[in-house]
């Protein structure tokens, strides 16, 4: 019987949760890298035994870890994230220009086809690629040429946090940066353009429709429809049907259109999930109720998914990389919270149950559907 592996990054280590296809009984492994901040772990779609993990802390900096046996053992690989050439400067909080400085890796995105190729989204915002299993990294520096001097950090830092790869076209890469916006390359990362038309950020930037400066929180794409992108922005849930060429709002009847993660059902490209958060000044669910919202219509019409999720006195957050789906039949949905719970649904969100309740604050959740 097929199964699922859930990779959980937390403030104090990583955990690997595994179950068979029923997804009822879970084996918990960890903490791996105990005491370290694990911003992100992700498995290679081309080789389920190949995992990458971003390990960091304020004392000893950034390490990239790699596993070739599905997370049983790990080895540190390359951590030399050197910006290409003279890094230059970007906008700082006080309006001055500030030198680009590497802080950490927020997101690792393995290639859909090659286990040795992996992309890293870093803070200060830049995109790196390794083609040797993480041993060496090269910046795709043209990205920072797209008005990089105008980018400025959001409250969480100026991070490149989302990387979307088109499985049918290795030249198509879409990334998102806080607080700069979405950017797309159609030539494997050699050249880039901003893809923020249609976004409006009334309260966040002086020109609400500026080309860059939008605080995109996450992007999602169904692999069968790479031109359809879904976005959770700081405020607003958005959709593009032309690869980011133009965006339109699909927030519809959501109780709040502020939030962090967004995900697409594994088998239904028009079924989308978000986790509404009350506001940018109150980072917890509206009314103390943790509700995942699902749209089966590609947006606009949303239904709350509540069965098994806490519906009173709940004041956790779900961070941008902390929601994922598996590709079993029926599609599984997973959310991790800043309160240390990982909730799972084995029926596309209709019902939920916690896999674990007392982990450190969850930073990221990713899945692997195992043969």
């Amino acid at each position: 019987m097929s199964g699922v592996r859930v990779l959980v990054g937390t403030r104090k280590g990583a955990f690997v949760l595994t179950a068979d296809g029923q997804r009822e009984r879970w084996d918990i492994s960890g903490p791996h890298f105990a005491g370290w901040e694990m911003y992100h772990l992700k498995g290679s779609p081309a080789d389920p035994n190949r995992l990458y993990a971003s390990q960091s802390n304020g004392w000893f900096g950034q390490t990239i870890q790699r596993s070739d046996d599905g997370g049983a053992t790990w080895e540190p690989v390359g951590n030399d994230f050197a910006y290409d050439g003279v890094p230059g400067t970007h906008q700082w909080y006080d309006g001055t220009q500030h030198p680009w400085e590497f802080a950490r890796v927020w997101h690792l995105e393995p290639s859909p086809t090659d286990p040795d190729t992996v992309y890293a989204g870093v803070e200060d915002a830049a995109l790196f690629r390794s083609v040797d299993g993480g041993q060496t990294w090269r910046e795709l520096s043209a990205l920072r040429g797209v008005s990089g001097h105008l980018w400025q950090p959001g409250a969480g830092g100026m991070c490149l946090h989302t990387i979307v790869l088109d499985p049918a076209n290795p030249d198509r890469i879409v990334v998102a940066i806080s607080a700069a916006g979405a950017f797309r390359s159609d030539d494997g990362g050699e050249t880039w353009r901003a893809v923020n038309r249609g976004l409006r950020s009334e309260a966040e930037i002086p020109d609400p429709a500026a080309d860059v400066g939008h605080c995109v929180h996450s992007l999602a794409m169904h692999p069968s429809r790479p031109d359809v992108l879904f976005m959770q922005k700081h405020w607003d849930v958005m959709r593009s049907d032309d690869g980011g060429g133009v965006w339109r709002e699909i927030s519809g009847n959501l109780p709040s259109d502020f939030g962090f993660p967004i995900a697409v059902h594994a088998h239904e490209p028009e079924t989308v999930y978000v986790v509404p958060i009350k506001s940018d000044s109150e980072h917890y669910p509206p009314d103390g109720k943790l509700r995942v919202y699902r749209s089966r219509t590609g947006g606009h019409e949303w239904e709350p998914l509540t069965r098994g999720l806490p519906q009173r006195d709940c004041y956790v957050n779900v961070l941008r990389d902390a929601m994922a789906v598996d590709s079993l039949d029926a599609c599984g949905v997973y959310v991790g919270t800043t309160g240390g719970q990982v909730y799972a649904s084995a029926d596309a969100g209709d019902t939920w149950a916690p896999i674990v309740r007392d982990l450190p604050a969850v930073l990221s959740v990713e899945t692997q559907t195992l043969p």
Binding site: F33, G35, W36, N57, G58, W59, F60, G61, Q62, T63, P76, N79, D80, F81, A82, F102
Partner: protein
């Protein structure tokens, strides 16, 4: 041989014991000891000194012979007791609680 004591996180990262022994060419300085340490344990590159500037990371401290050597120049000679191996050179994660 020069003895270097590592903090717990770096022992794990380097797959090393609490104390490692290093052969250092030339005068024993912070730079020469850390160069030898990173050569022997490549995962420690970037964990003690910044990859680009080669300066000590802000929350790392260097102690030896009951003194804080963190602010000494990287090419200053280390105490004789460290150079002879009588005393260890301690790499320490700074207190940063709250």
């Amino acid at each position: 041989m020069i003895r270097v004591v590592l903090p717990p996180h770096l022992r794990t990262l380097a797959s090393a014991e609490r104390e490692v022994a290093l052969r250092v060419e030339g005068p024993a300085t912070q730079r020469s000891v850390l160069d030898a340490l990173e050569a022997a344990y490549p995962p420690l590159r970037g964990a003690i000194r910044d990859r680009v500037t080669r300066r000590r990371r802000p929350l790392v401290r260097f102690f030896a012979c009951a003194e804080d050597l963190s602010h000494e120049p990287p090419d200053a000679p280390l105490p004789e007791a460290v150079a002879t191996g009588a005393e260890p050179f301690l790499v320490v994660g700074a207190m940063a609680g709250g």
